[in-house]
Symmetry: C2
Subunit: 325 residues, 2 copies
Amino acid sequence: MAKPVLTILTGNREVTGLENLRALADVRLAADDAELADALPGTEIVYLWNYFADGLRSGWDRADALKWVHLPAAGVDRLIFPELAASDVTVTNARGIFDTAMAEYALAGILYFAKNLPQARMNQAERRWQHFGTSNLAGTRALVAGTGSIGRTTARLLRAVGIPADGLGRTARDGDADFGAVFASADFASVAGNYDWVVLVAPLTADTRGMLDAEVLGAMRSSAVLVNMGRGDLVVQAALERALRAGEIRGAVLDVTSPEPLPKPSPLWGLENVLITPHLSGDSRSHLPAMAAQFEANLRAYLAGRPLENVVDKQLGFVASPTGG
Amino acid sequence: MAKPVLTILTGNREVTGLENLRALADVRLAADDAELADALPGTEIVYLWNYFADGLRSGWDRADALKWVHLPAAGVDRLIFPELAASDVTVTNARGIFDTAMAEYALAGILYFAKNLPQARMNQAERRWQHFGTSNLAGTRALVAGTGSIGRTTARLLRAVGIPADGLGRTARDGDADFGAVFASADFASVAGNYDWVVLVAPLTADTRGMLDAEVLGAMRSSAVLVNMGRGDLVVQAALERALRAGEIRGAVLDVTSPEPLPKPSPLWGLENVLITPHLSGDSRSHLPAMAAQFEANLRAYLAGRPLENVVDKQLGFVASPTGG
C-alpha cells in the first residue's frame, strides 16, 4: 500500500520524532503558511507542528485529498473555519499532553498570591525586612471553568493540597468524580462570589467568549484571584483591567491575553497585582516528546484503519467525551 | 487553691485570649525584657507571647518560683541558655501550629522556581512577551532536612503534588511513614546531589549549625533550589552567597537569614535567583488564635496536674517524639 502524503508545518523548527514519521508516511515539510498551502494538493494528513494563523484556510481550495488535520495543542479555536467545520476532514488535538503542567501552573499562581510573593518582591527590591500578611490554602475554595482533561487535572491537584474545587461547564451536574459540584456557565455570576480562586481553562467557543465579564468580576470576592490559562478572549479584558486597578479583585495570573503577544502599551503589564506569562503554562521538559509520541500513535492507528484518539467535535470546538465539559 | 503567677511578655502587642488566661492565673503583663526581669520574683509561669532576646536570662537570678516557660514558636534555640538548660524549669513550644503554613510556603517557593516566575517578573517589568523555559514538579525529588512535625507535613504536601521527599535527620532509618528514606545529617554532602529541592526545617543545635556548607552546596545539582525555613545559621551564608552568584545552584528561597533582619548591605537582597521573606513562613490567618488555644490548653493541664504537651528536650533543643528528628 502506498504511504499517505503527510505535510508537516514546521515553522523551521526541529520536528521531534520526524524520522519515525518518515517511516510511516510520505513526508512533506512546509516552513510556513505559504509553503503549507502549496503542499496541500495530494496531501492526506496535515500535522501542524508549528501552528500559524491560516495556511490551511488560505490553501483550502487546493486540499484535494485531505482526510485528517492534527493540531498538537489543546485549544482549536483559531484552527477551525467554516469550510473545515463543514467538511468530512477529521481534526484531532493534543488532549492530555498539557494537563499536569497547566495544573501545576495554576497552583503556582495561587501560591504566588496566597503567600503574597508580589509584596515579597517589592520589599526585596527595596532591601526592606518588613512583615506582611500571608494566607493558607487550607480553607480556601476554587472554581475551575472548563471540565475537560486540563480542568480535571487542575481540580485533582488543588484538592490534593487542600483546596476543594467546583467546576463550571456547559451543563450543571452533581456526582462528578473530580469536582465537588459542576455549575452551568450561564450561572457564573451567581456562584463566583463563593470562591477564592477562579481558574479559566474552558475552550474558546461562541458560548464561552467573554464569559468572565464585568458582572462576574463584580460578583467575585475582593480577595479573589483569577488564573487564566484558557484563552484571552474568555475574558472581557477591559473589564478585567478596571477591576484589577480598582481592587475589585485581588489579582490575576494571565498566561493568555487578547491579543497575543500582549502589546507593550497594555496597562496589564504595569499592574503589581498581575502576573503575565507568554502562553507557556502547558510547557514542560517532556511536552515535545509527548506531543510527538501522541501523533505517531494516532498515525499508526490511522494507517491500521483504527479509530483516531482525541477527535475534535468541530461544532463544539473541543474533544467531546463522557467526562468532558 | 491560689492561682499561680503567670507573667506574659507582651511586647505591647495584644495578647490573643488574654481574658481566658486571667480566669486561670494571676496574670502580670511585661512589655519588654526589662519589665519581664522585674516581674520574675514570684512568677511560676512565663509566657513569651512576644519574644525578645534575653529578658529571662538577664533576670534569671530573680526567678525564685519559676516552673514553666512557654515559647509560642517552633525553634527554641535563642531561648535556651545554660542555667535554664541545667534547671528543673520546663520549657514548652508551639509544635504543630506552623506546620501547614510552612509546608505551603515550601511548595510556593518550589513552584516559584519550577515555573520560572523570576523570569516572568523580569520580562513583565520590560513588557516583554518572550517564551522561557519552565519545568514540571512531576519527576523531581526533594530532600527535607528536619523530620519533626514541620518536616513531615512538608513531605506529605510535596508527595501530594507528585514530589517524593526523603528526609535528613539525626539518624538514618528506613520505613518512615512520611519519608521515602531518612539519611543521617552527617551524610548530607553525599546525598545532596540526588535532589531538585532541598528544604531546611531542622532545629538549630550544635549539630545542625552550618549544616549547609560549601561542601554540600558543591554537591547539589546546579538546577537545585534551596528553601530555608529553619534558621539562618543552619547555612554557611557566605558560602551560599558564593554558590548563588556563581550559579552553582539554581536559587534560594530564604525565610530566615543570619542575622535577622537581614542587613541592607547584604548581597542576598540583590540576587535575582533569591527570594527573601521576613521570617513569616509559619504565619497564617489562624496562627495567633491557634497559639493562644494551645497555651491555654497546656495551662489547664498544668493546673490539673496533668503532663504538659510539647515539652522541649533542653539538651536536644527541640520536642523529642517517637517520630521526631
